[in-house]
């Protein structure tokens, strides 16, 4: 059986298959990682700063984009944020990074990130207030599910997903279990991450 390919919008055709199920790229953010490194670049004596800051550190979801994908970067960012919101990684009222910060971290143009934020704002998922940043909105997404256009688009995407799974050589049973696992992962109850990140 062929391994499951990543289902993120950013996956290019022919990309290296990921190990295991991956609904959204940022969902892997909570995995603990062993310490790695190629030795010290320069010795910093008594460097306890990382240990101190780790006491106050919060784990945040990670957004990933691929430059070599056929999907536009704006759509990749918007999809990643939608996944994070849908999965509860960022809850209603949570502030999002500024356009400038996200663009700097991803090494992209600010206008690309700003367009993605505007797309989500138009969908009612986030709200931007000048000078205060962008926050996740609540409730609106549920109301949109009853809109015929939204429902038709979701059905279209489901068909595309099923078609791609079949073209990739996946069996019906595998595809079904993959989708069910994704749904279970999305709807499972999640503990609140950190009270300091809420307003």
């Amino acid at each position: 059986m062929r391994p499951a390919a990543p289902l993120s919008a950013s996956s290019p055709p022919g990309a290296r298959p990921a190990a295991g199920l991956r609904v959204c790229p940022h969902r892997q953010a909570r995995l603990p990682s062993p310490s790695v490194g190629g030795g010290p670049i320069l010795p910093l004596p008594l460097d306890i700063l990382p240990l101190i800051v780790s006491l106050f550190a919060t784990i945040h979801p990670v957004l990933t984009v691929r430059l070599d994908s056929h999907v536009p970067l704006t759509d990749q960012i918007a999809t990643g944020l939608r996944c994070a919101i849908a999965a509860g990684e960022v809850a209603p009222g949570d502030p999002l990074p500024t356009v400038r910060q996200l663009a700097a971290d991803l090494g992209l143009d600010m206008s690309t990130v700003a367009r993605a934020y505007r797309m989500l704002e138009a969908e009612g998922l986030v709200a931007s207030v000048r000078g205060r940043g962008t926050t996740v909105r609540a409730g609106r997404a549920k109301a949109r599910a009853s809109e015929p256009a939204v429902r038709a688009e979701l059905e279209r995407r489901a068909r595309v997903l099923a078609s791609e799974a079949r073209l990739a050589g996946m069996t019906r049973a595998t595809t079904r279990s993959m989708l069910l696992a994704a749904l279970e992962q999305l709807w499972q109850p999640r503990p609140r991450r950190d009270s300091t990140s809420r307003r």
Binding site: P25, H26, Q28, A29, L31, P32, S33, S35, V36, G37, G38, G39, P40, I41, L42, L44, D47, L49, P50, I52, V53, S54, A57, T58, I59, H60, P61, V62, L63, T64, V65, R66, L67, D68, L81, A84, E89, V90, D94, P95, L96, P97, T98, R100, Q101, L102, A104, D105, L106, G107, L108, G133, T196, S197
Partner: protein
Amino acid sequence: MIWFQRLFPVFMVLWPAAFSVFVEPHRDADARAPVLARRLWLATLAALLVHAGVQAWIEAALPPQHWLRSGWPTAYAVSASMILWFGFGVPALVARDPGWRAPRAAPERSAALAPRHLHHPVPRAAWVAGWIVFALCAGASLWAVLAGAHAAILLGLAWWVFMAGFGARRTVLEAEPLDREGTPELARQYAALRAFKAWCFYALGLAGTVCFSAVALLTVAHPPLAGWAGAALGTTLGLFGAVFGTLASVRRARANRLLHERTREA
């Protein structure tokens, strides 16, 4: 004080090349590393010769009272060290160890959805305390200017505080690219770098404010001492800034190297 004026630029000019000696070659070192290292040393030598020539001319042409007050050593030290560091030092270091540069060529890029602008490492109370110190120092400097000190000192004070404050605020918006897994250790390295830079900018701003005001007050209270104090305090601030900048670069390089390792593993 003459040795301050003479040694400060030499120290600043030599710093990038001397620093590069302590960076160990990485296994992924570029083949051009020796060439770039030679270029750095040649540029350092040229910078030292230029400084020696101009300084000798200034000392020969101007009486000591004048050249002691000239801004040449400070201006030259700052500009030459910047050119040497960013123009020659960083390329040489990157060639020796690619960890000094973030892997921007990678097709996959990741970022944490963390609103860093809301969580500045310097707490609000420290900012309030800093602004109170600034207000007191600005008041003292204003009094000194009205009593006869040069008005440029107020401009210098305002510029210094603006630059330090701007730098401290901007640290939270600097690029912090992650790997796909969002390695916690990498996030910790970035957080440590952020805290270090923010606090150093804060300390630099606060110390500079006090130094500017002290020199302004000395100009009125004890003019002969003002020049000496200005040179000593300015040199100390410059050295502190150089050390802080270098240590911040080391921290950044560490994070970059970890990102390289993680990206390669993925």
